[in-house]
């Protein structure tokens, strides 16, 4: 449930809701850290839930001694009223069997808050790319049906590529094709929930406008028995630097992020 920091519940009607999926390389979460710290978003509350493993630590976005001692927990909500942007940051993994209930509770809250759109930042295993994908940029998007019309033109002008369908069962030749996001955590669940359309019933999850951005298909390097994910990020801020484990700088996310915000946060 959402618990505000202050006494009153903020009005999020018409806001764009930005969130990460806990996915391979933690790309979505790292991107969220960059967004929150770059835009200097302020914390407006917590998403208190039994679905995530508890964790606490001091403020990861500290810029001075004064704000370095603010406690942070595993799921926090930040806002930037000037851009009508609200962001959820997730800092731990799901407890077993709790990922689907989390998606339902979260989307239910997003709907009841009257947010206009949801943007999910995610990632997927790069070794699942086919030959065509290997030759193109490591960035894909997916839109739920109700978002498509409003942003299609802008997306086309940015030359983004839509996520391709792949065989549901790769081992079988004539398998049906579907959207698969290996290593994407709850991304697929959020996409399916966002797409769900119940024609003659009132459903709180009906047609949640959802855009999923697979920001970086992470290039996996096999090193000393560990799958080392090289996260492609440009990070000008010290707080974000500290959070990265294997920094390899590319332009992809740095170029993409402003585009993301201009398309969806207007």
């Amino acid at each position: 449930m959402f618990v505000p920091c202050g006494e009153s519940v903020p009005d999020l009607a018409g806001y764009t809701f930005l969130m990460p999926a806990v996915s391979v390389g933690n790309v979505g979460q790292l991107a969220m850290d960059l967004i929150i710290s770059t835009l200097n978003m302020c914390k407006i509350g917590y998403f208190y839930t039994d679905c995530l493993v508890p964790m606490v630590g001091n403020n990861p976005y500290a810029t001075a001694e004064e704000n370095s001692t603010e406690l942070s927990i595993n799921a926090e909500i930040y806002a930037l009223p000037s851009k009508k942007l609200v962001a959820l940051q997730l800092r731990s993994i799901f407890i077993k069997y709790k990922s689907k209930p989390f998606c339902e509770k979260l989307l239910s809250w997003v709907k009841s808050s009257n947010c206009a759109k949801v943007i999910v930042l995610s990632s997927s295993h790069s070794y699942h790319r086919n030959d065509l994908q290997l030759r193109s940029t490591p960035f894909r998007y997916l839109l739920t049906p109700c978002v498509q019309k409003s942003v299609q033109t802008k997306i086309m002008s940015l030359n983004w590529e839509e996520m391709e369908k792949s065989p549901c069962i790769p081992e079988i030749d004539d398998s049906e094709f579907c959207i698969r996001i290996p290593g994407g955590g709850i991304t697929k669940t959020l996409y399916d929930e966002g797409c769900s359309f119940v024609p003659y019933q009132r459903s709180v999850l009906k047609n949640v406008p959802c855009a999923l951005l697979l920001l970086s298909r992470v290039f996996c390097m096999y090193l000393l028995g560990l799958t080392q994910c090289c996260v492609s990020l440009l990070f000008p801020f010290q707080s974000a630097c500290r959070l990265l484990k294997s920094p390899v700088i590319t332009v992809a996310l740095y170029v993409v992020l402003p585009s993301v915000l201009s398309v969806f946060a207007s």
């Binding site: 493993v53 800092r91 290996p182 560990l226 799958t227």
Partner: protein, 306 residues
């Protein structure tokens, strides 16, 4: 601020998350995002039969956290702090923190047991909490007879991540209790401490603190620096306090000896001057003697020849 999960084969049964080691053997590699579990859960959900669901329900029932009074053998119908409202809640998690509170706080007053948590998980298989031996893991609640608004919890058992929220509900309840202060004591291994300083300059055991926004008094030691984080029950309690705006402080002792150790326990001594414990500790030299005795008893018990 991230945790890795263990790798499973999931949907990609052919490829899996395999990696080659330096020596050429192929092993399953863990994924830092812990996402393979999600894919496996999805598959399991689709294949689940009524029998599987029943097994899962029974396991969930077995893992339920129950609070009860050992004296009357009755369960608590409401949360512990609803039944015993308190202004001070002090909790020790782990054997060293428990030994500290036993020697310095509990020996200085008369404490009455008000509840006991019964929980089962892979690490804590306590089934019968009515006849606990001192060596067994336990989670017991006491209040000070002379001032019943001071409640203390001695928790030496591991509360698993799927039980932590339940534990909080059974102890704190779902309503925020604003007029109380919470103090949490626990230990972590010094190898968990991340710092840019040289490890030779670290003199363990040492104390670090984390506090909620509403905790206004200065802590008894320096605050835990980024990027260090805390997990498990201490994190669950502190998160609850932060969300519901309860003043709370966590004192974390980083030590290289996780088993019961005199030096580690004594590292908590700076907390004796804090407002939470002031007035609760009467005779420090006597308490130190009690602590030494506790260590000796424990050493005999842990002798490999006995």
């Amino acid at each position: 601020m991230r945790r890795a999960g263990t790798s499973r084969s999931g949907r990609d049964a052919g490829a899996g998350t395999m990696a080659a080691t330096f020596f050429g053997e192929v092993v399953k590699a863990p994924c830092r995002a812990g996402t393979e579990d999600e894919e496996e859960e999805e598959e399991e959900g689709k294949r689940e039969t009524a029998e599987d669901r029943e097994v899962r329900r029974q396991l969930a029932r077995k893992r339920e956290v129950r609070l009860f009074r050992r004296q009357t053998k009755t369960s608590l119908e409401v949360s512990l702090l609803e039944k015993y409202p308190c202004s001070k809640f002090i909790i020790a998690i782990g054997n060293n923190a428990v030994a500290f509170l036993s020697s310095f706080v509990m020996s200085s007053g008369v404490w009455e047991e008000v509840g006991c948590a019964n929980l089962w998980n892979e690490w804590c298989r306590t089934t019968d909490t009515t006849h606990l031996s001192p060596a067994e893991a336990f989670c017991v609640f006491y209040h000070l007879k002379s001032s019943p608004s001071v409640v203390l919890c001695q928790c030496s058992c591991y509360v698993a991540e799927d039980q932590q929220y339940q534990w909080l509900e059974k102890v704190f309840g779902s309503c925020a209790r604003k007029n109380m202060q919470v103090t949490i004591l626990t230990c972590r291994h010094v190898t968990d401490y991340k710092t840019s300083e040289s490890t030779s300059s670290l003199h363990s055991p040492f104390l670090k603190a984390l506090k909620t926004q509403n905790f206004k008094e200065p802590p008894c030691c320096s605050l835990l620096e980024q990027p260090n984080i805390v997990h498990d029950l201490p994190a669950a309690v502190l998160s609850y306090c932060q969300v519901w705006r309860i003043p709370a402080v966590l004192y974390l002792c980083y030590t290289d000896v996780m088993k019961l150790d005199l030096i580690t326990v004594e590292a908590f001594k700076p907390i004796l001057s804090s407002r939470s414990l002031k007035g609760l500790v009467k005779n420090i030299p006597q308490s130190t003697e009690i602590l030494k005795k506790l260590m000796t008893t424990n050493e005999i018990q842990s002798n490999i020849y006995t």
